[in-house]
Amino acid sequence: MTMTEEAVDHRAEGRAAKRLGVHECELFLLHEARLLDEGKFDDWLALFTPDARYWVPSEPDQASPLDTVSLIYDDRQLLETRVRRLASPRIYSQEPRSRTSRIVTNVSIEEDADAAFTLVRSKFMLIEFRRNEQRLFGGTSFHRLTVAGGDIKIAWKRVDLVNCDGPMDGIVVPF
């Protein structure tokens, strides 16, 4: 996979130069998946660093979020707005709410040029049920994790859907 300049440019001062082990990364990813399944989006948002990016490309092997459209590409401002909207009683695309079930697996630690981060690769499957329809998503996630104030934080997350360039109805609940 290709890292964008965006992804490597934002290392805050004072982040621990500590590589995380695969087991603690896996526990963290399972925790994240559970927060999303339980609709605890504020808690999910709190997992991200203040300068984080959250990215779901529209093409396989997409090199950059800047010159090609993305299913989702959020900086912190947009991610906060996204999560706030999810709590709105007038979010009609979540009336009724989706129910989701995620499986996260095949966790591995990838090479990362920057010692302040641990790059984690994992596979996921997500079943989303809403109204009369069940949708199945699957793909590969990349989390760039760091440790801040003793907690693991997501500095950058990329979700590559296997059907990223296929036709689909809207995506409201994040991956």
């Binding site: 979020p65 909207r85 109805d169 409201v172």
Partner: protein, 454 residues
């Protein structure tokens, strides 16, 4: 029951209401593909997608697969994507470059202009078999025409030329191209493909609807209005949040500042919504300033001023195209079934503009056309809900009468709403619809509609 009353399809459109069967009757849908999509000019793509000889891309007219290809002599061909032998779809990839097309079934091979080039085992065919016969080919769509790089096809040999049919809407297409300092634009930055369980007409009907954002998009308006500007942004959030806040303009804004214009053949645009100050754009943005300087250098101050003062939001070219010149967005509507629609959204790069201008185009595409957009997802919900609602036994006649009887004539041969919340553009599309359905296919359509079981 509801089909039994369908005696004359044209009577299903009244001046200020339409019958709901126009959105859920499969027989009417089949007729639309034949009469509307069969007689109107249909947008299929842009010349920048087939720049060099051998370049091709695949798309569809309604549900029919076609291939658009640049021949070795530079000529543009639009072919039905079907082998003349056993009917298999010949070209299977979305796009590419080739010097011939070959069917994977029995190896029939075609020139890029559709003529048959080679047939294996030719000796085995009957004596009358003539591989040079015009019907032994990947057949051409009846007419192909480009306006400033925008490629349209027409399945009917009769009818107006593309330019006559576009009429005053050529000025909206001009606006797409004129904003490029080098006078050329190109498709770039990928494509969004959206589907919904609703009728194709709903999409164009929503794109100029100035009365819905304040309500439908309430969740993203509220969330954006409450968003702190201090949180980190790399530009993506900034442009998205600006747009979402703008959607929260009160009704009084829409009724006094924004206008809606309609023209013959169902075309229309919403204008004066944004100027470049509110949008891209802020004139103090250094990238936009560079762009303006480049424009003035290449086109002169007066011409640049004229171009920048064209302030159109969405322009709809009926029945399958909508585009937005200030952010170089273009959507193509593909009707798949009476209650199933595919919409593909493209972005364009302005030749000669600063590279980073295109980043704004992409950011804007993500917020207004993105699959995970905080805005578009509520529009898709509306299309799905209309699909569901219309399948009920509720009111038979749907209202399209807002602003009715207060429309005013337009100096370029159209008519405009008294203000932007007028549904004049929907009435205008149905006027065109009646024209296509009521004349071209009248004798056949009556027989077919009556054959639908009650």
């Amino acid at each position: 029951m509801r089909h039994a009353m369908v005696e004359d399809i044209v009577s299903l459109v009244k001046p200020a209401s339409v019958h709901r069967s126009l959105y859920d009757d499969p027989a009417i849908f089949a007729l639309e593909l034949e009469c509307v999509f069969g007689s109107a000019w249909i947008y299929v793509g842009h010349e920048s997608q087939v720049r060099s000889p051998g370049d091709y891309f695949c798309t569809q007219i309604g549900r029919k697969p076609i291939v658009v290809v640049r021949g070795p002599d530079g000529a543009l061909h639009v072919l039905h994507n079907q082998c003349a032998h056993r009917g298999a779809m010949v070209v299977a990839l979305d796009k590419g470059r080739t010097d011939e097309f070959q069917c994977c079934y029995h190896g029939w091979t075609y020139h890029l202009d559709g003529r048959l080039k080679a047939v294996p085992l030719q000796h085995g065919y009957p004596s009358g078999f003539d591989p040079k016969s015009p019907s032994m080919a990947m057949l051409h769509v009846a007419r192909v025409s480009s306006y400033r790089g925008f490629i349209f096809v027409n399945q009917s040999t009769d009818g107006p030329s593309l330019e006559d049919w576009l009429g005053y809407m050529t000025t909206s297409l001009d606006d797409m191209v004129d904003r490029a300092p080098d006078g050329e634009i190109e498709v770039a930055g990928g494509v969004f493909k959206h589907t919904y369980n609703g009728n194709w007409k709903l999409y164009l009907e929503n794109l100029l609807d100035a009365a819905h954002p304040w309500f439908t998009h309430r969740s993203s308006i509220d969330a954006a209005q409450q968003q702190s500007d201090d949180a980190f942004t790399d530009g993506a959030g900034e442009i998205a949040i600006r747009q979402m806040r703008q959607n929260g303009a009160p009704y009084s804004f829409w009724e006094s500042q924004v206008g809606i214009w309609t023209y013959p053949n169902g075309h229309s645009y919403l204008g004066d919504y944004h100027d470049d100050k509110k949008l891209v754009a802020a004139l103090n943005d250094p990238i936009f300033r560079d762009y303006m300087e480049t424009m003035e250098k290449k086109k002169g101050k007066d011409e640049t001023k004229r171009i920048m003062e064209v302030r159109r939001w969405n322009s709809n070219v009926y029945p399958n195209l909508s585009f937005m010149s200030q952010f170089q967005q273009l959507r193509v509507i593909h009707p798949l079934a009476v209650d199933r629609t595919l919409v593909c959204t493209y972005s364009f790069k302005l030749r000669g503009a600063p590279e980073r201008m295109f980043h704004n185009t992409i950011r804007f595409a993500n917020v207004v056309n993105g699959t995970g957009s905080l805005v578009l997802t509520d529009d898709l919900e509306i299309y799905n809900r209309i699909g569901l609602g219309i399948s009920s036994e509720g009111a038979e006649w749907l209202q399209i009468g807002r602003g009715f009887q207060s429309d005013v004539p337009d100096e370029h041969g159209g008519r405009r709403g008294k203000n932007s919340t007028s549904e004049v553009y929907i009435r205008n599309m149905f006027d065109a619809w009646v024209g296509y359905m009521g004349t071209a296919g009248a004798p056949r359509q009556r027989a077919r509609v009556e054959s639908v079981p009650a």
